[in-house]
Amino acid sequence: MAGRGNKKIGARIMDGKFYPVIFLAVIVFVAVILLMFVSKITEEKILEQREAKIVAQLKNIFTDMDKYELKDDIYIITKNNETIGYTFIAKGRGYGGEISTLVGLDTDLSIRQIAVISNTETPGLGTRITLTAFTDQFKGLKSADVVLSKNGGKVDAITGATISSTAVTDSVKKELEKKLEIIKKNNY
C-alpha cells in the first residue's frame, strides 16, 4: 500500500467521497452478472427436472398410463385413447411455506392416490407428509371424507406435524371439490 504523502493513483481513488458507494455498486453488478450466468446454465436442467418429476409422479399413480393431456390445470390420463383417470395439483400453506400435492382420481372420482411433490416443511418433522404412511390414508376417499380424523374425517394427522398435515388435507379437499365440478361440467 502507498505510504502517506506519496499517494499512488489507487490510494487517491480509495480516498474519494463516493468510493464506498461505487465499490458496493461494482460488487453488486459483478454478483448480478454471475447469477445471471449460473441461472442461464441451470435453467433448462431445472425445468427438465420439474417436468420429469411430474411425469414420474403421474406414472406412480397410473403405472399403465401412456399419455396425458393438460386441460384447465387437470391432467387427463389416457391409455389406448381411453380416459383412465385424472390428476391435478393442490396447493396449501404449510408451516414453512407452500405445499404442492399431486392428487390422482379414478374414473369413479374417488382418490386413487396422492403424492406431495414439493414442500419446505421442517426436515424430519413436517416433511413426513411425503411418506406413504401418511399419503396412503387418502386412497379410495371421496371428497366428504378428506378431513382430519379429529374433525370427523378419515385422515390421521402426523404427531408433531399437525399444521403440515392440515395443510395437505385441506388443500386436497378444497381443490378436489373445485376440480370435480369442472370435470362434471365439461364431461372430461
Partner: protein, 213 residues
Amino acid sequence: MENLEEKLSGKKFWQELVKGILVTNPVFVLVLGLCPTLAVTTSVNNALGMGAGVIFVLLCSNAIISLIRKVTPNMVRIPVFIVVIASFVTVLSLLFEAYIPPLYESLGIYLPLIVVNCIILGRAEVFASKNSVLLSIADGIGSGIGFTLALVLISFLREVLGTGSLVIFGRQLFSIPVLSASPLSIFIMPPGAFIIIALLMAFFRLVGVLKYE
C-alpha cells in the same frame, strides 16, 4: 520474519485448517450457527448435504472477501460481505436444484438460509477480511469441516436414537431391532437437538478434546 517463513512452508495453512475443526469449532466452541444445526440434524443425510453446502460457500466467500480486503471500504464492508455470501448461496441453491433435486428438497428452506448463517459472516469479519487468500481458504475449509463434523455427530445420535435406524442416500445402513419398533422420538423433535448438543458440549469439555482458548 518467522511468520513469513511459516507461511511459505505451508505449515500455517494446515494450522489454520485444523484450528477451524478443533480449536474454533463453530458449533461446540464458538456456538455459532445453532439455528441450522438444530434444524437439519434430524438425519445424517441432511447433515452431509448442509455441511457440503456450507463448506462450498465458506470456501468461496472467504477467498473472495480476502481477495478484495485491501480495496473494501470499511464503511460498506458488511453489505459487501452479504452480497458475496448471498451470491454464492444462490449459485449453490440453483446447482442443487438442477443436479441433486432430492437433497434440494430435503434441505428446503435451510439452503437459502445459509446466507444468514453467522458462521460464514463470522469467518468473513474475523478472519478473511484480515488475512491472505491462502490462509482464508484454509480457514474456510477448516471451519466448514468443523461444522460438518459437528452436524454429522449430532444427527447420527439423533437419527439412531429417534428412529432406531440409519439411512444414508436412500440406503438403510442398519436398524436396531428393539429401538426401531419403539424409537425415542423426542430426539428427532427440537428438544432432542438441544439435549444432544448440550450433552456433547459437556462431554467435550470433560475430556478436553477441543481446546478452549
